[in-house]
Point group: C2
Chain length 200, copies 2
DNA sequence: GTCTATAGATGGATAGAC
DNA sequence: GTCTATCCATCTATAGAC
């Protein structure tokens, strides 16, 4: 079984290419990364990459699609059985932050390199990402309905919250002072206070 | 005098190149944009671009540096004379949101295309961006000191807040239902509630 | 599966006429 | 300032030997 945390620890040549590409796309972007760069990172020659992937575009697609799917499916799984709405939002945000921290390379590539995907490929990734965002907007709506929150604009606020949590993939460091879980707690606390809107 | 809103309305060939490049870098990214693309958008040939800029890298540098400088200097100007800390934070965030909404092309290029800048050029832009972020962290610290806010981690929270407001440049539309000012209000309200932390 | 070699296309930048 | 023409480097992808 492949889980999110496997992403950087697998062992086949295909998965080593996957990981090398994710790292390079993260650092330099898709167009600035060459097939020679990727091959070099893996320790093979550029031509050999084509024994594992049909082309460069396909490497990006697989990284983006797989990562976005794992993000979304993981969120759905985390919410299973949770009925309290604040608890659900907390669980969602913690998962979202932890995933982006622990899979920072692939996660940031998955949405930062969207313009580098072909139209068809981009739509496939966006469809999955939209489902994930919709899941969160539904939670926001439930909170407003059940707890009387006044969310100024559901779309604007949800974009803001998700972006804040997503961006962790830009600065998180495994060897930093904070764990992914601790950061998830901080953001969940901050967001829930903002949503409750006790004063204004 | 050049203000932020002039960015897309100037008339010299140089400024038309500036605007065309910002649009293309925004849509496709620096490396996916060719000098021929930029020239075509302006209505000239690629070779003619070199009468106005020494090269492609320099076009990106000027967009990034000028935009980041205007963002920062505008914030400093907005804060002038404001002593109340909540009012100051509100003013800062409103400016930050409005700037990114009204200069969405150049703003997004300025920090999304940082990896495409040479080491030296990137450091110049980052220095200015860091000054801007530091300004906000100082406000956060003042709020914590003066009003007893409990900010879990100043750096993590400030990154989150700024990212939320910056990302407006990814989805704002001039012809959308919300003005930049309205969005700035929403985020400032949300953030200040989260900072006050009335309940937890 | 790996490699070397290369085809074929494209892009940044320059030269020089106007 | 504009243009056309082109150099030269580089990149993706393929061919074919091992």
């Amino acid at each position: 079984m492949s889980t999110a945390s496997d992403i950087s620890t697998a062992e086949t040549t295909e998965s080593r290419i996957w990981g090398a590409a994710a790292k390079l796309f993260y650092d330099k972007g898709y167009h600035a990364t060459t097939m020679r760069d990727i091959a070099s990172e893996v320790g093979i020659k550029a031509g050999s990459l084509y024994n594992h992937f049909p082309g460069k575009q396909d490497i990006l697609l697989r990284i983006s699609l797989q990562t976005t799917r794992e993000l979304h499916e993981g969120a759905v799984a985390r919410l299973d059985g949770i009925t309290d709405i604040e608890e659900a939002i907390r669980a969602f945000l913690q998962w979202h932050v932890e995933f982006h921290a622990k899979n920072k390379l692939a996660s940031r590539v998955a949405d930062g390199q969207l313009p580098a995907l072909s139209e068809e490929n981009r739509l496939a990734v966006l469809e999955m990402r939209d489902a994930h965002e919709q899941l969160f907007r539904d939670l926001l709506r439930r909170g407003a309905a059940e707890l009387g929150w006044t969310v100024a604009d559901e779309r604007v606020i949800s974009f803001g919250i998700l972006t804040m949590c997503t961006e962790v993939d830009a600065w998180f460091r495994d060897d930093g002072p904070l764990t992914a879980e601790a950061i998830g707690d901080m953001y969940a606390d901050f967001v829930l206070r903002g949503l409750r809107g006790d004063s204004s």
